[in-house]
C-alpha cells in the first residue's frame, strides 16, 4: 500500500539514505530499528514529508507522490506521533489535536469552541483518555500527552478517505510499564483502520508489537525480519554488526565497594518532592535509585548536585556537612552530574570539544582567570583517545557529535576534573547499543578508580545489571533496599512490586 523504492537522501557530507526500499501493508505494524545515525530519523522525515528524497519514488496504492511539507503527507493519510514533549504546552488539548485543521470548526471566521471540544472528546475516546479537552496541555502527565499525541494523529481517520500510515517515534520512552501495555493494545486495535511504523530503541517492545521489522545500518536496510522469525540477538547483531554478549552490563567486572563513605544523606527531605531519605554512598559503589517518573529520584540527584537545597535533614559529602547548596559547592567537592537532557544540559552546542570538557573545571586550566588553551587541548586529545570519542579533533563543535560521543564528552568533563561522585541521570537514554556498552564500561572503570556513582537508569534491567545497591522510591518515600552481587541480584519483578 505505502511503498518507498530506492529512496536516496544526501546531506552535505553525509549519505543518509542509500537506495532504501520500504513497504507498509494495510493493517500492518512495521518495526524500524537501527543504531543512532543508521538513518531511521531521516527515513521517518522522508515518510512524513519533512524531507524530500533526492532520488527514488514514493508510492501510495501505486500512485507516485511527492510531499513538499508535513501537511501534504497528512492529507495523504500519513501522520507522525512524535517523541515526548511535542505538544504545544500553552495550548489546550483540543487546540493541539486540531492544530492546523481548525477550519472545520470555523464559520464566518469564528471558531466554534463547543464543536471543537465535542470533536476532541471523540478523538480522546479513541485513545481511552477521559480528560477535559479544554485542559491546558502543560497540566497533563507525560503519558497523557503521549496519548493526546496519538489522538491528534488519529484525526486523520476523519479527514482522509484512504488508508492511514502512522509513525510512532519512541512512543514508550516516557511511559511506565502498564502505560506501555495500554498503548500497545490501542495500537493493535487501531490496525483495523491504520498501519503503523514503530520506531524504538527498546528491542523487546519492537519484537512484541511488530509484524515485520526493518533493520537499518549506515543508511541502508540490512534486513527485514518477520515477527515469527525474529530473534533479538540476531537483529542486534545485524544492527551493530557484532553480537551483544551476555556480559552486556559488565557484571563480571563488578567488584565489592570499599568502606570509605563519599556521600551521606541523613533523613533528607525536599519540600513535597521527597521525604526522609537516608543512604550512604561508598567508594566504588554504584547506587541506583529506582522509581517511576516523578517518584523523587531526579530530585535527589538535584539536591546532591546542589541545585535544590533540602528542606530538612543533612547532607554530608566526604565528611563535610553542606551548608550552602549551589552547583559550585557540589562541583568543588567532586560531584559530577550527567544530566538526562544531554543536548540541553549535558553539552553546550556551539562550543567545541575541549571547551566543553573543561567547562566545569576551568580554574584548573587558568592562571588568574587567563586560560591555558594549550593544556586544555592536550587534555581533550588525551581523553578523546582514552574514551575513543569519534571526532576529527578537539576543535569540533560538540553539537555536531553523535549522542554517544556527546555523552562521552560529558563523562570526560567530570572524570578529567577528578570528580568522584558521579550522578548519572538516564545516561544511556537514546544511545545505541554500542554506545551503551561504552557507557557501562566507563561506569565500571570509574568504580575501579574509586568513584561512587548514583544512577537513575533507563530500564530496570540496566539498574539491576549495573548496581551494587538499589533503593526503591515511591511518591518521594523510601520503600526498599536491595543489595546485589553478581549472580545474586534482584529481579525486575521484585522491583516493580515496590515501585507501584
Amino acid at each position: 500500500m505505502y511503498e518507498l523504492r530506492q529512496v536516496d537522501k544526501t546531506f552535505p557530507g553525509v549519505h543518509a539514505l542509500k537506495a532504501v526500499d520500504f513497504k507498509v501493508n494495510r493493517g500492518e505494524i512495521v518495526g524500524l530499528v537501527g543504531e543512532n545515525g543508521a538513518g531511521k530519523s531521516t527515513l521517518m522525515k522522508v515518510i512524513y514529508g519533512a524531507y524530500q528524497p533526492d532520488g527514488g519514488t514514493v508510492t501510495i496504492d501505486g500512485t507516485t507522490v511527492r510531499f513538499q511539507n508535513p501537511r501534504q503527507a497528512m492529507d495523504h493519510g500519513i501522520g507522525m506521533v512524535f517523541q515526548e514533549q511535542s505538544l504545544i504546552t500553552n495550548l489546550t488539548v483540543m487546540e493541539n489535536i486540531f492544530l492546523g485543521y481548525e477550519a472545520q470548526f470555523v464559520s464566518l471566521g469564528v471558531i466554534n469552541w463547543k464543536a471543537m471540544a465535542e470533536a476532541a472528546k471523540q478523538q480522546l475516546a479513541k485513545v481511552k483518555l477521559d480528560i477535559d479537552p479544554a485542559t491546558i496541555t502543560s497540566e497533563l502527565s507525560f503519558a497523557q500527552r503521549q496519548l493526546v499525541e496519538l489522538a491528534k494523529v488519529l484525526t486523520l481517520e476523519e479527514r482522509v478517505d484512504g488508508d492511514l500510515v502512522i509513525l510512532l517515534d519512541e512512543p514508550t520512552s516516557v511511559l511506565a510499564k502498564e502505560e506501555v501495555e495500554l498503548l500497545f493494545n490501542l495500537v493493535r486495535e487501531l490496525t483495523k483502520r491504520a498501519s503503523f511504523i514503530f520506531v524504538s530503541h527498546r528491542m523487546d517492545e519492537v519484537l512484541e508489537l511488530s509484524d515485520r521489522i526493518y533493520v537499518m545500518k549506515d543508511g541502508e536496510v540490512v534486513d527485514v525480519v518477520a515477527h515469527d522469525n525474529a530473534d533479538m540477538d540476531a537483529i542486534q547483531h545485524k544492527m551493530v554488526g557484532r553480537d551483544v554478549d551476555k556480559e552486556y552490563y559488565r557484571e563480571q567486572k563488578q567488584k565489592p565497594y570499599g568502606n570509605e563513605i563519599l556521600l551521606s544523606f541523613k533523613s533528607v527531605s525536599q519540600g513535597r518532592r521527597y521525604q526522609d531519605i537516608s543512604f550512604d554512598l561508598h567508594k566504588g559503589e554504584v547506587l541506583c535509585l529506582v522509581g517511576t517518573e516523578g517518584s523523587g529520584r531526579e530530585a535527589i540527584l538535584r539536591t546532591v548536585f546542589g541545585l535544590d537545597a533540602p528542606t530538612a535533614g543533612t547532607v554530608e559529602i566526604k565528611g563535610q556537612t553542606i551548608a550552602r547548596f549551589n552547583a559550585r559547592t557540589g562541583v568543588d567537592l567532586g560531584v559530577g552530574y550527567v544530566p538526562r537532557e544531554r543536548k540541553v544540559e549535558g553539552i553546550v552546542a556551539g562550543m567545541n570539544v575541549y571547551e566543553n570538557m573543561t567547562l566545569s573545571q576551568m580554574q584548573n586550566y587558568a592562571a588568574g582567570g587567563v586560560l591555558r588553551v594549550g593544556e586544555e587541548k592536550s587534555l581533550a586529545r588525551d581523553w578523546i583517545k582514552r574514551l575513543a570519542i569519534k571526532t576529527p579533533n578537539e576543535n569540533k563543535d560538540c553539537g555536531g557529535l553523535s549522542g554517544g560521543n556527546q555523552q562521552k564528552v560529558v563523562l570526560a568533563k567530570w572524570r578529567s576534573g577528578g570528580s568522584d561522585i558521579i550522578l548519572l541521570d538516564h545516561p544511556t537514554r537514546g544511545l545505541d547499543i554500542g554506545a551503551k556498552e561504552d557507557v557501562y564500561e566507563m561506569v565500571r572503570e570509574m568504580c575501579d578508580a574509586g568513584a561512587g556513582i548514583i544512577l537513575v537508569a533507563d530500564t530496570l534491567e540496566e539498574a539491576i545489571g549495573l548496581s551494587h545497591t538499589i533503593l526503591v522510591i515511591k511518591d518521594g518515600e523510601f520503600q526498599k533496599r536491595f543489595d546485589g552481587t553478581p549472580g545474586d541480584k534482584a529481579s525486575p519483578y521484585d522491583l516493580v512490586h515496590h515501585m507501584i
Binding site: 552547583a327 552530574y337 552546542a349 556551539g350 562550543m351 567547562l359 587558568a366
Partner: protein
C-alpha cells in the same frame, strides 16, 4: 560547501563592498587621513557597542547604555574640578554598578533584559537630570586639558582615540577569548542550562556581563564628554540604536553565544561607512533615513550566519 567557506568572512566582505561602492562613487572617500578621522570619530560609539556585545553575547540586550553615557557626561563634568583625572574612576565605577544593578534585576528578579535595562536607563536619566540641574554644563577648558587632553592628541598621525579604542578592544577580545570569564559567557550564551549543570555560577556571570556593558558605556560617555568638553542629560542621545545596529550587523545575533567583539569592530565600521556614504554620495536630506534603513536590511541579510542562529528565526 563553497558558501560555507566564505560564510565567516561575510561581514568583512560586506564592509569591503560598501567601502568600494562609496569609494568608487566618490574617490575622495579613499583619502587615508579622512578615513582615519572618520574612524576616530566613531570611537565613543564603538566603545559603547563593544560593551553591548557582552550583553548580547549572553543572549540579552542592554538598552540602558545611552542613558548611562548621559549620566556619565554629567558626572564627569560636575566632578572634574573636584577629582581631576580621578573622575574617570568615579565614572567607570558608576557604569559598573549601574550595569550590575541591571544584571541583578534581570537574573535575580526575572525581568527580561529588554525591560530591566530600559527601566534602569530611566533611573540613570533621572540621575543625570538631577545632577546636572537640568542644565547643559561645560568643563573648564584648562582642567579638561590637564586631565584628559591626552585623549585627543595625535601620535605619528594616529589619533589617540583610536589607540584607546584599540586598547579597549584588545582587553575585550582577551576577556572574551582567553579568560575563564569569556568562556563562561560563551557557555551561558549558547547553552545556559548546560552551564548550570557544569557548576558555573550563571547568575554572577550574567550580572558581570551587564556590568561590563555598563562600564564600557561609561567609558564611552566619558570620552564623549571630554571630546565635547561638557555634559548634559541628553548629550549622548542617538547612540543607543546605532550601538545595537553595530553589534547585530557585525554578526553577533541576539540569540547569544555567537560572534563577539571582533564582529562588533566590523559592524561599527559598516555603520560608519553607511552613514558617511550619505555625505559622500550626497543623498538628499529627506531620503537619508530611508536609504539607511534599506541598506541596513541588505547588510544584515548579508552578514548574519543563519546556520548559527540555531533553530527557528524569531
Amino acid at each position: 560547501m563553497k558558501l560555507d567557506i566564505i560564510k565567516p568572512y561575510l561581514p568583512w566582505i560586506t564592509l569591503l563592498v560598501l567601502v568600494l561602492v562609496v569609494g568608487i562613487a566618490n574617490p575622495a572617500f579613499f583619502d587615508p587621513q579622512g578615513m582615519i578621522a572618520l574612524v576616530a570619530d566613531i570611537v565613543p560609539l564603538f566603545i559603547m557597542a563593544l560593551g553591548m556585545t557582552f550583553a548580547i553575547y549572553i543572549g540579552g540586550i542592554d538598552l540602558s547604555v545611552q542613558q548611562m553615557a548621559n549620566l556619565v557626561t554629567v558626572i564627569a563634568t560636575v566632578y572634574l574640578a573636584q577629582f581631576g583625572i580621578g573622575v574617570a574612576f568615579v565614572c567607570v565605577l558608576a557604569g559598573f554598578l549601574f550595569g550590575a544593578a541591571s544584571g541583578f534585576v534581570t537574573t535575580r528578579l526575572y525581568v527580561p533584559s529588554f525591560v530591566s535595562t530600559l527601566a534602569m536607563g530611566f533611573v540613570a536619566l533621572s540621575g543625570a537630570k538631577y545632577l546636572s540641574g537640568e542644565r547643559a554644563l561645560s568643563m573648564d577648558a584648562t582642567l579638561r586639558n590637564e586631565s584628559f587632553g591626552w585623549m585627543f592628541g595625535n601620535t605619528v598621525g594616529i589619533p589617540h582615540e583610536l589607540i584607546i579604542a584599540a586598547v579597549l578592544l584588545v582587553i575585550a577580545w582577551f576577556l572574551q577569548t582567553r579568560t575563564t570569564f569569556g568562556r563562561s559567557l560563551k557557555a551561558v550564551g549558547s547553552g545556559e542550562l548546560a552551564a548550570v549543570a557544569s557548576g558555573l555560577n550563571v547568575d554572577r556571570i550574567k550580572i558581570l556581563a551587564f556590568a561590563i556593558s555598563g562600564t564600557f558605556a561609561a567609558v564611552a560617555g566619558l570620552m564623549f564628554s571630554v571630546k565635547l568638553s561638557g555634559g548634559d542629560a541628553n548629550l549622548a542621545n542617538g547612540f543607543l540604536l546605532l550601538a545595537i545596529v553595530a553589534v547585530l550587523v557585525g554578526g553577533t545575533p541576539l540569540t547569544g553565544g555567537v560572534g563577539g567583539v571582533i564582529n562588533t569592530v566590523i559592524g561599527t565600521l559598516i555603520v560608519v561607512v553607511i552613514r558617511s556614504a550619505m555625505v559622500y554620495l550626497e543623498i538628499d536630506a529627506t531620503q537619508q533615513q530611508m536609504v539607511f534603513g534599506v541598506v541596513l536590511i541588505a547588510a544584515i541579510a548579508l552578514t548574519i550566519d543563519r546556520s548559527k542562529l540555531r533553530g527557528v528565526v524569531k
